[in-house]
Subunit: 347 residues, 2 copies
Amino acid sequence: MTGIIDITSPGATGSTGTAGITVLAGGVGGARFVRGLRELLSSGSGGATPITVIANTGDDMWLTGLRVCPDLDSLMYTLGGANDEVRGWGRAGETERVSAELTAYGVGWPWFTLGDLDLSTHIARTSMLRDGLTLTEATARIAERWQPGVTLLPATDDEVETHVEIVDPETGESRPIHFEEWWVRHRAQVPAVRFINRGIERARATDAAASAIADAEVVLLAPSNPVVSIGTIVALPGIAEALRSTAAPVVGVSPIIGGSAVRGMADACLRAIGVETSALAVGEHYGARSAGGIIDGWLVGDEDVASVPHLSAAGIASAAAPLWMTDVAATAAMADAALALASRVAR
Amino acid sequence: MTGIIDITSPGATGSTGTAGITVLAGGVGGARFVRGLRELLSSGSGGATPITVIANTGDDMWLTGLRVCPDLDSLMYTLGGANDEVRGWGRAGETERVSAELTAYGVGWPWFTLGDLDLSTHIARTSMLRDGLTLTEATARIAERWQPGVTLLPATDDEVETHVEIVDPETGESRPIHFEEWWVRHRAQVPAVRFINRGIERARATDAAASAIADAEVVLLAPSNPVVSIGTIVALPGIAEALRSTAAPVVGVSPIIGGSAVRGMADACLRAIGVETSALAVGEHYGARSAGGIIDGWLVGDEDVASVPHLSAAGIASAAAPLWMTDVAATAAMADAALALASRVAR
């Protein structure tokens, strides 16, 4: 690795933390980014720097009595080497026999794929939750099988589900639907009026997640959806506070390259919150920690190098690098660039 | 059909009921018997006589957070034509992908087969129960898909699970295990000290089940396990009372032929309650309604014709017939013999 941070020496970033690197992440894109980061850190000669991933749980849902956590599972399968690389999500070698049966019974969402292998994760998780385990505990238990090489933490143990207020094309009335219905069934093509973090008034981040930010050497925001992945995590009471107060540098990686969302449909989310689909606008949306925001640094794509001086003017250190996660090596290089930026902004 | 009861004429048996024939049944054996009865009644020229099946729910369990009802499902699959005829239970064309995954997660009972197709039934049922439906309602909803041609009723909507007190071969101490663990895992080879209907003190039969007995033209006890199938149904508050007070004749079909249980392991159950494995002993165990028991008639196998006078002496009308359910036609003939006996004892 070529990173500026000496990851073999705790405290090299000026942090007193010993918890390594903490990443806030959504599902598929976040998983790819973390896989690159893990590759980068494991290829160093100085031993492993621990990685903690705080996962978005806003996409979670109860479906036919089972607790489904899409982002946690995407992270777990991808980091455990069990994901379907061709399709980009879910388990490799998947089948859908149970799902077809459920449709025949008229239960569940016929437009939502529940693979047979994937289903076992939901059954195992639900069983543990019904037995009284927290989602954090159930996640740790389930992850034992996959050995993701990172500590995987749900951002919260409370049920906070993202709903999307849409204007029903048939009735003309606005009504909320679950994020997954909007995302998967409607492909985000029905305009979102706003996003609702249902249940958030009774929720807070887990102590483990807040501590992972407080004690980190570096905090990274993966190039995940700024609204319904990173935004949902940050909205949880306890997260923004931790991001603002941690001694670690906080660096984000832009999910927007050259004015386009790398992983489709983020633009539909940004539109709903009035943020332009650009690396600059998203960086400014997160905002400089020095000005009450949540980031110190913002890594943009080479295509967006022109935004760097504008970001600097907004108090956000910035650098440009190739941000296409075409393979693990390219992603590792990108993670390296993010760590280099973190080193630059470390206080 | 050659039955003596004119099933086209309600009230021909002397009953005022119009609910047709009600059968108390366990799983696999009960399902086969009901299939024969359905065949018999549908082949008549006078239109269909309704059949109501009251199913044992003592084998039910929560397994990895899912409500599994083995006997209801055996009845539903067999009567719906979806059962595995070769194996004798479960769904045809079954696979076990999810089950293998659950084992990899270390949840569930690795010795208990949960087929993928079967699993969808448990998921659908559990989802409905979690939504607040009763088991009776969920069963009706699920059965819509299978069109079993009978009304399928759980004996109770309450959770009463059969546990078996065994003497642990390793510790020498007695402890209760779930019936399915004893039956499937231990193949009933560990001696049962006694059976416990866990939860029965808070349970009762559904009104639908009690009414199906009260209003029937004929009540039949299928040749199911006398202890853990029929016995478990009868133990539910409301069932024995209904059997004793119904105007309908109550006729049982012996599951013991020539001193052997037709469907293995009933002898292990009978031993635990101190009843000999013979058609005579089981008939006497049920007892004559005229003497506080639950049956008027008891159909035994041709092999057990010598028991007929002994049963008569005990106040139980009896007849001998071929009781091997080798195919649907043989089973229909056997059901016909049971109805003929019912006609003879009708008051």
